[in-house]
């Protein structure tokens, strides 16, 4: 018997995307929180099956967009009408029409950067390693034809033996306990 203290996660394989969706529903219903599904391609309906909440990324981008557009607009007002007033092509100092263009550009730039960085941070990226990479079965199939559910050891409901038998009971095959592997 393996030493259960070293177990990082339990991994189970499913045959088809549909099986994976049903498995996700059951794992979610069982009350597990720290689990994830892995497939070679996105599966429609997976978010609902896993009970995922909607990402807050849109709100983050929205707030940044409004703040940066307003900030850039105000910044141009301050530079051209307050700090260093300069008449350009006979226009008023506070030419808000012209400020719109740079405000728009900065809004797009900062929103895109927020969307990219926010996406990475919310996904816990970048990272150099993940415990699941200890599983040879996982690394061999997950980008090709394998559909996996993993439940991580720091889930409050986690118990190596019970979790393993639970995943077997919902139809998982090749259920394995993921343990650090010193060879690699």
């Amino acid at each position: 018997m393996m030493d259960n203290k070293n177990v990082l996660a339990v991994l189970a394989e499913f045959k088809t995307p549909a099986d994976l969706i049903h498995a996700a529903e059951k794992v979610n219903k069982e009350g597990y929180k720290k689990y994830d599904c892995h497939s070679p391609f996105p599966i429609h309906g997976m978010d609902d099956a896993m009970g995922e909440k909607r990402s807050p990324l849109g709100y983050m981008v929205g707030i940044v967009a409004f703040l940066s557009a307003a900030g850039m607009w105000f910044f141009q007002y301050w530079t051209s009408a307050v700090d260093y007033p300069l008449v350009l092509s006979g226009k008023p100092l506070f030419s808000y029409q012209a400020f719109g263009v740079a405000a728009w550009a900065i809004m797009v730039l900062s929103s895109a950067a927020t969307a990219l960085i926010g996406m990475l941070v919310l996904n816990g990226l970048p990272r150099f390693h993940h415990p699941l990479f200890y599983s040879d079965n996982f690394t061999k199939k997950v980008n090709d034809d394998g559909f996996f559910v993993s439940i991580e050891a720091h889930d409050p409901k986690f118990n190596p033996d019970e979790t393993k038998s639970f995943l077997e009971s919902i139809g998982g095959t090749n259920v394995e306990l993921v343990v650090p592997d010193d060879e690699g």
Binding site: H44, G62, S89, Q97, A98, G100, V101
Partner: protein, 394 residues
């Protein structure tokens, strides 16, 4: 009104079509009285109302073309809506005839004495003359009619004979059709609207009118779809997911419209050349600034904020309100494009003829739409992607 679940035909057409025709004809007769009382007022009102309804047909044609071209699935459940909308060019061609009679009142480049004393108009006379104008209008209507008829007939043929060759054929028609559409709709906007002020020109003008026309048909589909839904039709086929996508398109074209109008304004504001800025000046002085501001905030800022959130795009009540709002703004936008050119320094004024022509042409347009819509299955039942379309998820 009831529907046959296997053929998806509305078996009892109800009285909507007949009532719309009677109301439309009645209001056009009342408007015709205005023709004799005050013909400049009649023609300017008629042109605003005519262009307003024309944009629905042009938007419907674009929506159908672009979806065939991309082979998109999500819109198939509402394809009959846009097909019935675009198949109204014969009616619109007939309703264009009064504009030909009103050219003298509407377009001052038709006045020979004015042109003779004006170097710019003399130079433009090769393009802006009554004969060529009429020929061009005939060409536009012919092209629009043939593209829309071919696509509609292919779609109806598909109902009886589901064959993938038809899908390919629709694509083959749509590719050159899209190029012709872009050219004809741009030049129609130049001819019928921009030449009201023949000294002024803007190359983005056609896209500006196009942006409004696509918004018009999107709002029309939302309103008509919600109306059918309220009566219990297509509730599990034309779902909230489709409305969500329509709302996203409305949102993007609100932004596109804003982008076009700002681009036009910004270049003219920056260069500050009198012959260009005059166009905005007449839309600011004598009280027109009120309409200009209503358009900026009502046609862009409010719908933009109103459609930002996902929940807003999925709320039927809110979408219905916003669709009506945007259509009202679209009418005001067309009013703002046309009326200042003809008001000779007078402020904005809503005449009774503006109202009667709007209802008159609208009544006939709805009658024609309803006839098209109810004469055929309300879904393209021969389309093999229909099932996938109804299960579409955002």
């Amino acid at each position: 009104m009831s529907i046959d679940k296997t053929t998806y035909m509305i078996s009892d057409k109800g009285s909507l079509g007949r009532n719309a025709m009677i109301v439309g004809a009645l209001f056009l007769v009342i408007s015709a009285a205005g023709w004799f009382m005050d013909s400049p007022q009649f023609f300017s009102s008629y042109l605003v109302a005519y262009i307003f309804w024309l944009t629905f047909a042009l938007g419907g044609l674009f929506f159908t073309l672009v979806n065939h071209l991309f082979g998109s699935q999500w819109n198939i459940v509402m394809r009959r809506f846009t097909e019935a909308t675009m198949y109204s060019f014969p009616l619109l061609a007939v309703l264009f005839i009064p504009i030909l009679f009103g050219m003298h009142d509407l377009y001052h480049w038709t006045h020979e004495d004015v042109v003779a004393n004006d170097a710019i108009l003399t130079a433009k006379a090769g393009y802006l003359n009554v004969t060529f104008f009429t020929i061009r209008a005939a060409v536009y209507f012919t092209i629009w009619f043939f593209i829309s008829r071919t696509l509609y007939n292919l779609s109806l043929k598909q109902d009886k004979n589901p064959d993938d060759k038809i899908i390919l054929r629709m694509k083959q028609i749509s590719a050159p059709g899209m190029i012709l559409y872009a050219l004809t709709s741009t030049f129609a906007a130049f001819d019928w609207l921009m030449s009201l002020e023949p000294h002024w020109f803007s190359t983005i003008y056609g896209l500006y009118v196009f942006a409004g026309s696509f918004l018009a048909v999107l709002c029309f589909v939302i309103l008509f779809g919600l109306n059918l839904r309220k009566k219990g039709y297509l509730t599990d086929i034309f779902t909230v997911e489709h409305y969500h996508d329509l709302a996203k398109l409305v949102f993007s074209f609100i932004v596109f419209w804003g982008y076009m109008s700002f681009s036009q304004y910004f270049l003219i504001w920056y260069a500050n050349i009198p012959e260009e800025t005059i166009w905005y000046l007449v839309r600011w002085e004598n009280g027109w600034y009120v309409i200009s501001l209503i358009i900026i905030f009502g046609h862009f800022v409010f719908p933009f904020l109103g459609l930002l959130l996902r929940a807003a795009k999925r709320s039927f009540a809110w979408l219905k309100f916003l669709a009506i709002w945007i259509l009202v703004m679209h009418y005001i936008d067309m009013f703002w494009l046309i009326k200042p050119a003809l008001s000779h320094g007078n402020g904005p004024h809503f005449n009774w003829m503006d109202f009667t022509t709007l209802i008159g042409i609208g009544g006939l347009f709805i009658w024609n739409f309803w006839n098209n819509f109810t004469s055929n299955p309300i879904l393209p039942i021969g389309e093999r992607r229909l099932e996938a379309s109804s299960k579409f998820k955002v």
